[in-house]
């Protein structure tokens, strides 16, 4: 597991039914591209997050496939409709098999 991986997500706490909200996500990850070389000229092996998904109550909102060309600390901003109260679940999949998860609740009131 890569060190110091910390997901951060910004979701509004409340919304009205059917409202479109903006979600911002960031995860600290070095996203080693596999193109760089260390001081001895050896290639540094690739180590990136290769997939990110966001779901609301089990319904998919966005599913992103990442390649090495995505920057360090991958950041995504996107919109979602909120039909009812529930949980947003965010999942990041690492090259090394680790899975990082974050859940945020939102209330419709």
């Amino acid at each position: 597991m890569a060190k110091g991986v910390k997901p951060r997500v910004k979701v509004p706490k409340t919304a009205s039914a059917g409202e479109t909200i903006t979600i911002k996500t960031l995860i600290s990850h070095k996203m080693e591209s596999g193109q760089r070389k260390d001081s001895d000229g050896n290639a540094i092996p690739r180590s990136i997050i290769n997939r990110f998904t966001a779901d609301f109550n089990g319904e998919n909102v966005i599913d992103v496939t990442l390649e090495p060309a995505v920057s360090t600390n991958p950041y995504f901003q996107f919109d979602s409709v909120v039909p009812e109260s529930g949980d947003f679940k965010f999942t990041w999949y690492d090259d090394d098999g680790s899975v990082y998860e974050e859940t945020k609740s939102i209330k419709v009131g």
Partner: protein
């Protein structure tokens, strides 16, 4: 033929021209291949898809890119000057209203960023933006 100085210059400059021509389309075709992998060589329309990107990026390590593709089910981003042209692909679910997203990408140098969108009816849309990069983002 005797190898005089004049001949040597003629030969070497000729070789340099061939080498530079040989290298340029190689990058472009890498991106084209990657795009064809997704579209299957289908015709691509234009208009429904827009990319927002800076004209000049100081630092190629983090270039903010956002796109807006109403009616798209999938959007893929490509950078035609990167060693690996694929950047990311986004699939949108039912709860996504606007089919737009922003992220930050790495660019090796001044180049075009191409977005290809698959629409709900199965057709494809394409658009591109040229970005000038002051410092490339590929390490070294």
């Amino acid at each position: 033929m005797k190898l005089t100085r004049r001949n040597m210059i003629a030969i070497s400059s000729g070789a340099a021209v061939v080498a530079s021509f040989g290298a340029m389309p190689a990058f472009a075709s890498l991106a084209d291949d990657a795009i064809a992998e997704i579209t299957g060589g289908a015709e691509m329309g234009e208009g429904a898809l827009t990319i927002t990107a800076p004209e000049i990026a100081e630092n190629g390590n983090t270039v903010p890119i956002s796109f807006d593709a109403p009616g798209a089910v999938m959007v893929a981003l490509f950078a035609d000057g990167n060693p690996t042209p694929k950047v990311a692909s986004f699939k949108f679910g039912k709860l996504s209203p606007s089919h737009s997203a922003s992220t930050r990408i790495r660019l090796a140098g001044t180049q075009n960023v191409v977005a290809v969108a698959q629409m709900e009816d199965g057709s494809f849309q394409k658009t591109q933006a040229n970005i000038k990069v002051t410092i490339g983002g590929c390490g070294g």
